[in-house]
């Protein structure tokens, strides 16, 4: 076996792989070619700045993790390091693994910066966060970038009751940076059978207060914003506009129509769920947002154009609910929220998940946009928030009096 010194090995590697200059990379990208950029430097180097959209895989893990980052062996891949030496050796190994279009960036990151091109200083997890979220960052669908997205995300929960409890706790544990909670109720003993945000010691306290305590205990990273007020036509748009995703855990029809309409007007995805006795329904209402290329799916009004007359559909307060049921359904809402925030998997858009805990069946039904929907159809008649109590045949309160309990 030939003995090579460092320079001979580098010379050999350079003959076998193709180098690309920062200028050529920039021009070819501008011309529409797409390259996967892999930054193979050490973590402390990456943290000081990297080429935008580059994937971080330190040299020591490159061969072990490259297949998760680049599945297609024919896809063009550009490897870079600080000066263009380590990347030559790394690229040679990828070539040996069958990657056909591997380039090494000549001059590396320094060459890129010296050429005057843009770079990004990354937000990175601190040491405590790297341990706390390690089971997330191991998942190829999340990695560190996905976790950082969660930390920068804002989710609004309508209700800190049965559905809101597990959803809020899992979202807090997952590191969603801001959790807004709308609930004007106080904790009642009859809530404790299913609303795990609150404990026996919290009876009589405002739900948003005991929720904030519990969530901060789970994860001090999370900023909890409490709205101890009913959500109404007057405040809904103002409250919802700052959030990325809304989770509906409300327990009455007027609030369901209100939140649906407000999310539609603001283009916010709504993770909707409802429960009754042993049964649950979950779906995602994603409004169309053409500017962002989001086609959207059906809304609540596509599915249920009219509310049932009062009294026709019994409530949990009258008929009861298995305490574990909201635990399952609210957890599924949290899963959908995380998928939407990070952008992986298939959200439950256009699909209605039906859960029956009696025979433990999960069924998915297809739901479609209604072209005649009064809200999201081609000729909408609902163009602003309305009086939802009146719409549902209930005493009108003009959106001011807190007659609607959430739980």
């Amino acid at each position: 076996m030939a003995r090579l010194n460092r320079d001979q090995l580098l010379a050999l590697a350079r003959r076998e792989i193709t180098e690309i200059s920062p200028q050529a990379l920039q021009q070819r990208t501008a011309a529409g070619e797409s390259f996967t950029l892999i930054d193979i430097r050490e973590r402390d180097e990456f943290m000081l700045g990297h080429i935008p959209d580059a994937e971080f895989i330190p040299r020591g893990f490159l061969e072990l993790q490259i297949e998760q980052a680049v599945f297609d062996r024919t896809a063009p891949v550009v490897i870079y390091c600080a000066g263009g030496v380590r990347s030559v050796l790394a690229a040679r190994n990828l070539k040996e693994m069958g990657y056909e279009n591997v380039y090494s960036l000549s001059g590396g990151f320094s060459g890129w910066v010296n050429a005057g091109y843009e770079f990004t200083v990354p937000t990175v997890l601190n040491d405590e966060q790297r341990i706390r979220y390690s089971r997330h960052t191991l998942l190829p669908e999340l990695r560190e970038a996905g976790q950082i997205k969660l930390l920068e995300s804002k989710v609004l929960l309508i209700g800190a009751g049965g559905l809101g409890s597990p959803a809020a706790m899992y979202l807090a544990a997952a590191g969603v940076g801001t959790l807004g909670i709308v609930d004007f109720d106080d904790v009642d003993v009859s809530n404790l059978q299913r609303q795990l945000l609150h404990g026996t010691k919290d009876v009589g306290r405002p739900k948003v207060e005991s929720a904030a305590d519990r969530l901060h205990d789970i994860n001090p990273d999370v900023n909890v914003v409490a709205y101890r007020e009913p959500i109404t036509s007057v405040n809904a748009l103002d409250i919802i506009k700052d959030y990325d995703v809304v989770l509906n855990g409300s327990d009455n029809f007027p609030t369901r129509y209100l939140v649906n309409d407000a999310c539609h007007f603001l283009g916010k995805p709504l993770v909707d769920a409802s429960i009754f006795m042993f049964e649950g329904q979950v779906t995602v209402y994603q409004p169309a947002v053409p500017e962002l290329g989001i086609e959207g799916g059906p809304c609540y009004r596509c599915l249920y154009p009219d509310p049932p007359p009062p009294g026709e559909v019994p409530s949990c307060a009258e008929a009861g609910v298995l305490g574990v049921l909201p635990g399952i359904v609210g957890s599924l809402q949290a899963v959908e929220a995380i998928k939407l925030l990070v952008g992986f998997g298939e959200p439950l858009v256009g699909r209605l998940l039906m859960i029956d805990t009696l025979d433990q069946s999960f069924r998915t039904l297809s739901i479609h946009r209604d072209p005649n929907c009064p809200l999201c159809g081609s000729q909408p008649t609902v163009t602003k928030l309305i009086d939802y109590e009146q719409f549902c045949g209930l005493p009108s309160n003009n959106g001011h009096e807190p007659v609607l309990a959430i739980g």
């Binding site: 855990g249 006795m277 009062p310 559909v313 409530s315 949990c316 039904l365 005493p395 007659v403």
Partner: protein, 97 residues
């Protein structure tokens, strides 16, 4: 015989059964046969014009009948019919006076 999934709201009309089987050629005759077997279901499901109420969806397998042929949607031997009414949750709301 098609299998009909009965939502919790209606189970008191079916003696607590969550699934019942019905022999019918289309949704119209299926709901009629269902009401004969379990009186009261049609009243809960249909409006004055004999159409499915707007806060209830009826699915044949995965698809809602309004996207198929409505009440005339054919029903096959092994089809699964789901009745899905709107559910809200826990609050007791007072009727508009």
């Amino acid at each position: 015989m098609a299998t009909v999934y009965i939502p919790t709201h209606f189970r008191r009309l079916t003696g607590g059964q969550s699934k019942v089987t019905v022999d019918a050629a289309d949704i119209n005759s299926l709901l009629g046969a269902l009401d004969e077997q379990y009186p009261g279901i049609a009243e809960r499901l249909l409006d004055g014009d004999g159409e499915v109420k707007r806060f209830v969806n009826v699915f044949v397998n995965n698809d809602e009948i309004r996207t198929l042929q409505g009440m005339a949607t054919p029903v096959g031997e092994n089809d699964k019919i789901s009745i899905v009414p709107a559910m809200a949750g826990g609050a007791v709301l007072r009727r508009r006076s």
